[in-house]
Amino acid sequence: MLEVAGLTRSYGALVALDGVSLEARGGEITGLLGANGAGKSTLLRTVAGLQPPDAGRIRIAGVDLLERPIEAKRRLGYAAEEPDFYEELSAAETLAFLAAVRGLDPAAARDRAHALLERMELDARADEPVRSYSHGMRKKLSFVAAILHRPALLLCDEALEGFDAAAAIAARAELRVLADAGSAVLFSSHVTETIERLCDRAIILHRGRITRELGRADWGGVAPGTSPLERVFLEIAGSPTRAEAG
């Protein structure tokens, strides 16, 4: 679903990506693990078409991003680490705008947006301007915007960071639903536990290079879904609307 070959990107003398080649397959959640500054965000921003690579090739669902960027972006969702929004629009207005630009069916998009906002506990404030949102609420909105159109490839850059426990569980469930429907998810994080719990496969990025690729079996098969601490939290603060992580 995502094929990256020989991707290189430098900022002056700093080589952020050094010949990165990787694949994110449909039906899988691929973790991208790396320390701060390893090049994860650069990789995701480049794959999202927000900055050009110095060299390399990116294919999204068979479409070359550099040759046919608009077609490639139709198949793409991107939840940024530091999302930026139209501050004066509400979450609902933002999502309606994105749905219109992406050519989604209005009624279906509205129903899906409402359901996602409810799961993220944003529904009560969906008609308030984004400028009044906290960091966590912005991250949730960014996540909803990225999956609203059920993209063939979803890029998540530290997407769950800032989520409260209940929303994180709901988001993980959404990611699993998306992957089960055949989408590829590339999920970057510097937190190993998040990758262990969520991903089917992990790619380790170190100083701009892929150093290892591992399968779930390689890290000892941590049970997916809620942790004991999360279960306690949910007993106290849980919401009946929450979907359990798969």
Partner: protein
């Protein structure tokens, strides 16, 4: 390692900021800015040469030197006012500095000095017309005296910028204190605006949204409409635009000579066109980079939405003029309307295209628009209609850049 003195730490920071900003400028843009600066200097020199020559012939070199010195003094005053206005806008505007500055173990005067430094960066631009003025005086004012005037002007610019910012700080401080109801015991004037921080984000409920199926350009246009109604900088520029449009129509109703009303209406209509371009750049600057550029949008819908706004603006200008019922014969009125609305449309499209091609750098787009308009006005004063030719060339040049929109940003 011994601690770095505060003054030199700020000097290092400011030097690094200047270097970084210069490096961020596209090399072609650097050349264009240099070329435009040279043109402005040449224009000023050309405009001043004849009056200075007349003064020198009538009153001698001393009179010419006095005239030159007075003009440079006025220029320094303008630079001081510009720096002060920038500083005041920074301290009182919606993007005023964060209170986090006050958490640093730095004396308030040092913070004020650093924040004023940002505003004073406009001051050195006064050297561009000054060089033109000095060049105009070559041969009319004795060389040693000319050098003395040049040195005096250069050394005056620094305190002029400081004075402008100091006055702005004094003016901005009580205003922000009143706005926030803050009571501090003998605070430094910078502490009041800093303590207030950015304006509170009020939580308001907006009207329920209607989900529509529509062409991308219409969705963008509708989004722009919401921004025009809610985004404070876009609102402010929109208000100025409407006021100038209204003035360009009202001037026909003034009890003045019709020829003067005609000229004033024409000048105000062209000003409205320039403001329309600035408004469209502000609108483009309100588009968040990753949100917009991550969407599957080609240049056509983005340009289409903004072109629709340029057309709306030009139409509104024409409507204002028609409603004012100018005292012109029908053919003359038709020419007037076609000329002013056409100019407003061209200027609006130019602003829209600059906003798109230089996205997300609205500040660059504003600067390019400003210097383009200055060059066009200067060119038209030198050779009638030449400015329009230059503007149309700039319009075509910016249109060519639109094709880069879909490619990954920066490629």
């Amino acid at each position: 390692m011994p601690p770095v003195p505060l003054a030199s730490a700020f000097r290092d920071l400011e030097g690094a900021l200047l270097r970084r900003r210069f490096q961020q400028l596209d090399p072609v843009l650097r050349l264009e800015i240099a070329a435009i600066a040279a043109l402005i200097a040449a224009f000023v020199g050309w405009q001043l040469r004849i009056p200075l020559d007349g003064i020198a012939r009538a009153g001698g070199p001393g009179a010419a030197a006095r005239a030159l010195a007075l003009r440079l003094l006025a220029l320094a005053l303008v630079a001081a006012i510009a720096a002060g206005a920038r500083y005041a806008r920074r301290l009182r505007g919606p993007d005023r500095p964060e209170p986090a500055w006050l958490a640093l173990p730095i004396p308030p005067p040092a913070i004020a000095r650093h924040l004023a430094w940002e505003a004073r960066r406009i001051v050195p631009w006064a050297l561009v017309p000054a060089l033109g003025a000095l060049a105009a005086a070559v041969g009319l004012v004795p060389a040693p005296l000319l050098l003395l005037i040049a040195a005096a002007f250069a050394s005056l610019l620094v305190p002029a910028g400081h004075a402008g910012c100091a006055i702005a700080l004094l003016l901005a401080s009580p205003a922000t204190a009143a706005a926030g109801g803050l009571e501090l015991s003998r605070p430094h004037p910078i502490e009041r605006p800093l303590a207030l921080g950015p304006p509170e984000a009020r939580s308001v409920r907006l009207p329920r949204v209607r989900w529509r199926r529509e062409a991308p350009w219409r969705a963008l246009w509708r989004k722009d409409l919401l921004l025009a109604l809610r985004n404070p900088p876009v609102q402010a520029r929109g208000r100025s635009l409407i006021v100038v449009m209204a003035l360009s129509a009202l001037v026909w109703r003034l009890p003045v000579d019709p020829a003067f009303a005609h000229l004033a209406a024409f000048a105000l209509a062209l000003t409205a066109g320039a403001l329309l371009a600035g408004w469209l750049i502000e609108l483009a600057g309100a588009d968040p980079f990753a949100t917009l550029r991550g969407l599957p949008l080609g240049a056509a819908p983005v340009w289409g939405a903004r072109a629709a706004w340029a057309l709306t603006g030009a139409g509104a200008l024409a409507a204002f003029q028609v409603l004012a019922r100018p005292a012109l014969a029908p053919p003359a009125l038709a020419v007037f309307l076609a000329w002013t609305a056409g100019a407003a449309l061209a200027l609006g499209l130019y602003g829209a295209q600059l906003g798109i091609t230089l996205h997300p750098r609205a500040d660059h787009a504003r600067r390019v628009l400003g210097v383009s308009l200055a060059v066009a006005v200067a060119a038209s004063l030198m050779i009638p209609l030449l400015g329009w030719v230059l503007l149309l060339a700039a319009l075509v040049h910016s249109a060519i850049g639109l094709r880069r929109w879909s490619a990954p940003a920066g490629s």
